[in-house]
């Protein structure tokens, strides 16, 4: 694999891991808050308090706490992605029509079965919208984060090529970043078509 390929793969893995970790943390918390007002009363004020803080400002703190390696970059991405995912999951569950919940309860669905058959599928359309926003934000922030002590990553590649005046290579790096975005958006679209077949138009 050529040098640009290695940098692209490194950035791709960082974004995918950050998205996966954020989803794994945010979706169960959002589902709990959407279903239980008491949980919402505790979690949502925390989300509202922390969501508006510019997370990029936290990178120095993450580097001090977690070192210069992958953990600080991952922590930065997760703290940015987790809030929109949490809110999408919470609102997706909260907006389930009362009749649908009543119908599910009349069938005897509760707890895990209710979450699996009703709450989770109901929140998916909102979650995929949040995921699309998340991909764009993650790539922008990653570009910034990869400028700090990063061996492989498109952010460091582009800035390094720029600093040594290799503009052609720099442009290929930007094109790779764009291609990475295209691939991730296409993957999200494909995942939505697979996971939400009832939303197919026509």
């Amino acid at each position: 694999m050529n040098e640009l390929g290695l940098h692209t793969v490194a950035s791709f893995v960082r974004v995918v891991v950050a998205l996966a970790v954020s989803l794994a943390l945010a979706v169960p918390a959002g589902m709990a808050a959407g279903a239980r007002p008491r949980v919402d009363r505790w979690l949502s004020p925390v989300a509202y308090l922390l969501y508006p803080v510019p997370k990029i400002a936290l990178l120095p703190a993450f580097i001090v706490l977690l070192g210069l390696g992958e953990a600080s970059k991952l922590a930065l991405l997760v703290t940015i992605l987790i809030f929109p995912f949490y809110l999408a999951a919470r609102d997706g569950v909260r907006d389930i029509p009362a009749d649908l919940i009543l119908s599910a309860r009349s069938l005897g669905l509760k707890g895990g079965a209710l979450a699996r058959n009703v709450s989770f599928p109901a929140l998916l359309p909102r979650l995929f919208s949040a995921l699309r926003l998340g991909v764009g934000i993650a790539l922008s922030v990653l570009f910034f984060a990869e400028n700090f002590s990063t061996e492989y990553g498109l952010g460091s590649f582009v800035m390094n090529q720029w600093s040594i005046l290799r503009y052609a290579e720099m442009s290929w790096g930007i094109a790779a970043l764009s291609g990475l975005g295209l691939a991730l958006f296409a993957a999200v679209d494909a995942a939505e078509r697979w996971a939400c077949p009832w939303l197919k138009k026509g």
Binding site: S103, S106, N117, W198
Partner: protein
């Protein structure tokens, strides 16, 4: 026999049901009419075990209803079909929720869909169905559980006039082939006369009024000369109870 014994339900200061008493004979068909807000839907929820009354109780064959009974089917005005599940999956879920194994659930689902003429749309999602097909899917979900008590809350409200008549005929046909105790809440007086062996007029001001329907089960009921006058009788009972 289903007995509603002194059931009261309050939401804050509002008294929705106040010591209501009613009886429904096993395998009977009852149509319940009443003005909006008289507590019809709340009564169905109490009977379905989804609403705990502030006082009183509901019994089915002497057993008090505490929580959801596997043998009770509820069809809401919105039908409550899950948009993300196909017709077959909506029906199968009604069985797997009871702990029925996947193979048996699939077999029973297939049989019920065939019975209701839904085999061709088994893989479709609710948004892709006609109003009548969606109604039949909701019925299939209760039929597949072999429900002995079927509660319906304005199930034909969203249908056009002819589809509504088809739906009423289907219900009566199913009631002959798979008897259950059927309680239908409706705003339609004509629908109540077509479906109800007994018509219960529910009002807030007075105890419920029961009218035996002499026309129930008559062939070509809607064109029977007694149909119009009996509908008028129900209408007057309804108007009288709300004065």
């Amino acid at each position: 026999m289903i007995r509603v014994e002194g059931v009261s339900v309050r939401f804050g200061d509002e008294v929705v049901l106040d010591g209501l008493g009613l009886e429904f004979a096993t395998h009977s068909t009852t149509a319940m009419v009443g003005r909006s807000g008289c507590g019809k839907t709340t009564l169905l929820k109490v009977m379905a075990g989804l609403q705990v009354p502030d006082a009183g109780r509901v019994t089915v064959d002497g057993e008090p209803v505490v929580g959801v009974r596997p043998g009770t089917g509820l069809i809401l005005q919105s039908l409550g079909l899950f948009p993300w599940k196909s017709v077959a999956e909506n029906v199968t879920l009604a069985l797997t929720a009871l702990g029925v194994g996947p193979r048996e659930a699939a077999d029973r689902t297939r049989a019920v869909l065939e019975d209701l003429g839904l085999t061709a749309v088994a893989g479709k999602f609710p948004a892709q169905l006609s109003g009548g097909q969606a109604q039949r899917t909701a019925i299939a979900r209760t039929l597949v559980r072999r429900s002995d008590l079927l509660l319906m809350d304005e199930p034909s409200a969203s249908l056009d006039a002819l589809s509504r008549e088809d739906f009423q005929d289907l219900l009566l046909d199913l009631q002959k082939r798979h008897p259950s105790t059927l309680v239908v809440v409706t705003h339609g007086i004509e629908e109540a006369v077509v479906l109800g062996q007994t018509i219960v007029v529910l009002t807030k001001a007075a105890p419920p009024l029961r009218l035996a329907n002499p026309l129930f089960g008559q062939p070509r009921l809607r064109s029977d000369p007694r149909f119009g006058p009996f509908c008028q009788e129900v209408r007057e009972a309804l108007a009288g109870g709300t004065k």
